[in-house]
């Protein structure tokens, strides 16, 4: 009893799926755009801040890492509007949630990257009179970021997969669009297979791109001995 594949529904609604993919990329992209700098700030606060900065930064990071993303999403979409007295649309709630959520993970990536740089680099910079900020900017971060690329990529992929949660608050991402089409057409198998393939293609393309970038950077300067 072979299943009769029929992709006509998929072809007929491909524009809707594409729109969903674009929305997925929009949320992911914006979450990266805000989450990475915010993560850097949190990491620097945690590493070099005084107590008044270190402690809150540590708390925020741990809190965001230790609560389920869907609970955070619901909080920003359903609970925060009660506090503020204004509606928050699904898109804004999604971007807000995933920017903050990913910033916590990026903070830990930054922290690990910065701490992996040999102390001799700090000493050498100090010895020629460089200040701590200048050393971070010009010596430590450029090396750390290079080492962090694989971890960044992994987090970004994880983030894109986690954004599928936004379909639960009716934001029309790829998964939401797939749900809608599948439910109205009963072509569940074809629709979800296509959606999965679209996620796969995008994520694979990102991986390949980052891999090439890493290779290019890898050629300029290696780790010095000692």
């Amino acid at each position: 009893m072979g299943y009769e594949w029929d992709f006509s529904v998929v072809f007929g609604n491909f524009d809707l799926l594409l729109l969903g993919l674009v929305n997925t990329l929009k949320v992911t992209g914006l979450a990266l755009f805000f989450g990475i700098p915010l993560g850097l700030v949190l990491a620097l606060m945690r590493l070099y801040g005084n107590k008044a900065l270190r402690w809150p930064a540590g708390f925020i990071i741990e809190f965001l890492r230790s609560t389920p993303p869907i609970a955070q999403l619901f909080w920003f979409f359903f609970a925060l509007p009660i506090l503020l007295g204004v509606e928050i649309d699904p898109f804004s709630a999604s971007v807000l949630t995933f920017s903050l959520q990913s910033s916590a993970f990026f903070a830990e990536v930054f922290r690990g990257g910065i701490q992996s740089i040999d102390n001799g680099q700090w000493e050498a910079a100090k010895a020629i009179g460089m200040t701590r900020n200048a050393t971070l900017q010009r010596i430590i971060l450029p090396q750390a970021v290079k080492r962090m690329i694989p971890a960044f990529l992994e987090r970004a992929i994880e983030l894109m997969k986690t954004t599928t949660l936004v379909s639960t608050i009716s934001y029309s991402d790829l998964l939401y669009q797939a749900n809608t089409i599948a439910q109205s057409s009963y072509r569940t198998l074809e629709v979800y297979t296509t959606a999965a393939a679209m996620y796969f293609v995008v994520i694979l393309a990102c991986s390949l791109l980052v891999g090439r970038l890493e290779h290019r950077l890898g050629r300029s300067g290696e780790i010095t001995r000692g």
């Binding site: 001799g120 000493e123 100090k126 020629i128 009179g129 460089m130 701590r132 010095t224």
Partner: protein
């Protein structure tokens, strides 16, 4: 008075440093005149590195005074204690060059960029001046031809010479060398010592921690022997290396059996 201040580059007065309960430097007094090359010897753990690191405040001394060109480091508070803000320490370090055992070149920068980094970010020199210094000091250590190489493409000896050029590019008043050849393969030690010797001959003021006694003998104007955080013995190389007075110095020299004097007529 004027001449005295002009010729005295560095003065340590009653320098003390402890880590917790451990007293590592105990009342070090030292006057270094312009152009002098001082070699510091001593067993491992005697405080040699700590002494150098106090001079440029990589370690903040626990007591005593450090005077560079007649000026005491840091700002004096009303109660007589001193604070060391980032600006004045940066200022001090830009005038004191330091070369480490592990060369610590910046691996993400080319050789030339390594040398230009200090002049650019600390001294705020313009591009032309940075380029001039990079060329001048890389040529001085014999590596002008490697200006565009990455540190990872150089031998250990070449990397250390770039590190020396990077320190020289700040045009410091004094250079500190902390076991600059200890991490090198034996066949690469000579080129670095040769560079240091050349600097000494050109009149650079230098404090050198090394275990190369032959080098100390030929290059030093003065040799200090450090033991348990004190200067136990000091004097001309002949005095300290050939006719040491203290038992600890004799023991130390015996432990460096491979030391051969350059002049065969002595001993």
């Amino acid at each position: 008075m004027e001449t005295n201040q002009n010729t005295e580059v560095l003065c340590l007065e009653g320098l003390k440093k402890s880590f917790g309960d451990l007293l590592v430097l105990d009342n070090i007094d030292l006057r270094v005149t312009k152009g002098e090359t001082i070699v510091i010897l001593g067993a491992s753990g005697s405080g040699k590195s700590t002494m150098l690191r106090c001079v440029n405040f990589m370690e903040v001394p626990s007591g005593g005074r450090i005077i560079l060109h007649g000026e005491q480091v840091g700002k004096e508070n009303q109660n007589g204690s001193r604070t060391y803000d980032e600006k004045s320490l940066s200022d001090l370090r830009s005038r004191v060059g330091m070369v480490f055992q592990h060369f610590n070149l910046f691996p993400h920068m080319t050789v030339k960029q390594n040398v230009m980094e200090g002049p650019r970010t600390v001294l705020k020199c313009d591009q032309a001046e940075c380029e001039r210094r990079a060329k001048l000091y890389l040529d001085k250590v014999g590596l002008g031809w490697k200006a565009d190489a990455w540190p990872s493409e150089l031998s250990g000896g070449q990397q250390q010479r770039v590190a020396i050029a990077r320190a020289l590019a700040m045009e410091p008043d004094i250079m500190l060398f902390d076991e600059a050849t200890s991490a090198l393969d034996p066949e690469l030690v000579g080129e670095v010592l040769e560079t240091m010797k050349q600097l000494a001959e050109e009149g650079m003021t230098m404090l050198i921690v090394t275990h190369e006694l032959g080098f100390a003998y030929t290059v030093a104007d003065r040799v200090l022997f450090l033991s348990k955080g004190k200067i136990l013995e000091q004097g001309a190389p002949e005095a300290v290396l050939i006719n040491p007075k203290e038992e600890a110095t004799k023991n130390f020299l015996r432990g460096h059996g491979s030391f051969r004097l350059p002049e065969p007529n002595l001993d």
